[in-house]
């Protein structure tokens, strides 16, 4: 067994979390509260070192970049919530953050979710060179195009699913099921690999059964 106290700490906390597989118990509850507490402390310290120190302490008080007092003042309006009479002032920093992030997010969301996806679905002349290539061929390109159109048609609820829409939505649900099944399988395997790595840690680093 290891004599490293840090490895002992990690191993004991790992086992505390695993006890939940039996049922909710004091060991798990202890680890759960320790985890959330440490996570809060971690976030506070990271914010201090990565945002408060470089932007406020260095920027305003050492580099004398007085313009930064404007966002700091706006941010301090959040504290108005503690004074009921002027509590509404906290809507100002929320509005600034929300407005800027909405404006920044709108074109980027459209590009990432619509334009890039359309580009990826388009059939290209290069596909004709190897039409039966299992990944980049024309047949697969047509299959992907059909899959995308049918999946969208399944989620199109503005018209009753009858006639051609019924056929395409029926095909769409098959694609959706394959997608959900594949995602599920992939996620389970990712979680299992995490489980294996935790067991490996316990067996290798902690009790040295595996060398």
């Amino acid at each position: 067994m290891t004599t490293n106290p840090w490895v002992w700490l990690a191993a004991i906390l790992t086992l505390c979390i695993y006890t939940y597989l039996y049922k909710d118990n004091p060991f798990y509850k202890f680890a759960e509260h320790l985890f959330t507490g440490l996570a809060v402390g971690f976030t506070i310290a990271l914010t201090w070192h990565n945002a408060v120190q470089p932007l406020i302490i260095q920027g305003i008080f050492r580099a004398h970049d007085w313009v930064l007092l404007v966002p700091l003042g706006l941010g301090l309006l959040f504290l108005a919530r503690f004074v009921p009479k002027v509590g509404y002032l906290m809507l100002i920093p929320i509005a600034i953050s929300l407005g800027a992030s909405s404006g920044i997010g709108l074109p980027r969301s459209l590009e990432a979710h619509i334009v890039k996806q359309m580009q990826g679905t388009l059939l290209t002349p290069a596909m004709l060179q190897h039409p039966f290539d299992p990944y980049n061929g024309l047949v697969v390109g047509l299959l992907v195009l059909a899959g995308v159109v049918c999946t969208i048609s399944y989620f199109f609820f503005s018209r009753e699913h009858t006639g051609a829409l019924r056929v395409s939505s029926r095909i769409g649900i098959w694609f959706v099921m394959i997608g959900f099944g594949a995602s599920f399988g992939y996620t389970v395997m990712a979680r299992l690999s995490l489980f294996i790595s935790r067991m490996q840690f316990l067996m290798t680093d902690w009790i040295h059964i595996i060398k």
């Binding site: 840090w6 700490l9 906390l13 597989l21 509850k29 202890f30 509260h33 320790l34 985890f35 959330t36 507490g37 440490l38 809060v40 402390g41 971690f42 506070i44 310290a45 914010t47 945002a51 932007l55 404007v70 966002p71 706006l74 941010g75 959040f78 504290l79 920093p93 600034i96 953050s97 929300l98 407005g99 909405s102 404006g103 920044i104 709108l106 969301s109 459209l110 979710h113 996806q117 299992p134 697969v140 299959l143 992907v144 059909a146 899959g147 995308v148 969208i152 989620f155 098959w174 394959i178 997608g179 099944g181 594949a182 599920f184 399988g185 992939y186 995490l194 489980f195 790595s197 840690f201």
Partner: protein, 207 residues
């Protein structure tokens, strides 16, 4: 007035930054970078409010001796210790702060995700019964992908890893792309509603 000013700010900044994306100039880029920096500074006091809210919740729990109040001491103690170490000792690699992250936070987080494998598997056992053709497709797809990712799959049939990869890359991608279109349209519609002041839940109250 109390609500019109915030709504006007959202409208002006929303339109400004939506247009900014299409203006390729140094000034436009500077405006974008400055806004991101300002946004970080603005949000720092919000973190203070979040911490205050959490601390109050646990202090009240301890004062009123609610069920499990002792764990609130664990929470408050852990938060205080981690914050104090981060403030005093720094956050550099190899220090006490990063050791607490590596040997306490990270193992607990990955173990929590790891135990999800058991719950997902038991949930799947109940949900993945081949009651209809669609459910059978879901079951087969998950089965092929899972088997394709482990050595046993290749031992059973050499083509299984390839089939698993193809399913992830082709039919799975096609369905994900269709869903992504929906996400894109939905998020664009929500953003437009916020910018135009049609979505007002963020103002609080009955709005």
């Amino acid at each position: 007035m109390k609500k019109n000013v915030p709504l006007a700010i959202v409208l002006v900044l929303g339109v400004l930054f939506a247009v900014q994306y299409f203006v390729p100039s140094r000034l436009s880029q500077r405006l974008y970078d400055t806004t991101l920096e300002w946004d970080i500074i603005i949000s720092i006091p919000a973190l203070a409010i979040a911490v205050d809210s959490l601390v109050r919740h646990h202090v009240v729990r301890i004062r009123q001796r609610r069920k499990g109040w002792g764990y609130s001491w664990v929470y408050l103690g852990a938060a205080a210790v981690m914050t104090a170490i981060g403030f005093s000792g720094g956050i550099s690699e190899g220090g006490l702060f990063m050791n607490l992250f590596t040997f306490a936070l990270a193992p607990m987080q990955s173990t929590m995700f790891a135990i999800l494998a058991f719950y997902m598997t038991s949930a799947a056992y109940r949900a993945f019964r081949a009651r209809s053709p669609e459910a059978t497709v879901l079951l087969l797809s998950a089965f092929v992908v899972m088997l394709g990712l482990i050595p046993v799959g290749a031992a059973l049939w050499r083509g299984l890893p390839g089939l698993s990869e193809w399913m992830m890359q082709v039919p799975n991608m096609a369905s994900k792309r269709g869903i992504t279109f929906g996400i894109g349209l939905g998020s664009a519609a929500t953003i437009l509603k916020i910018i135009l002041g049609l979505e007002r839940s963020w103002l609080g109250g009955s709005e």
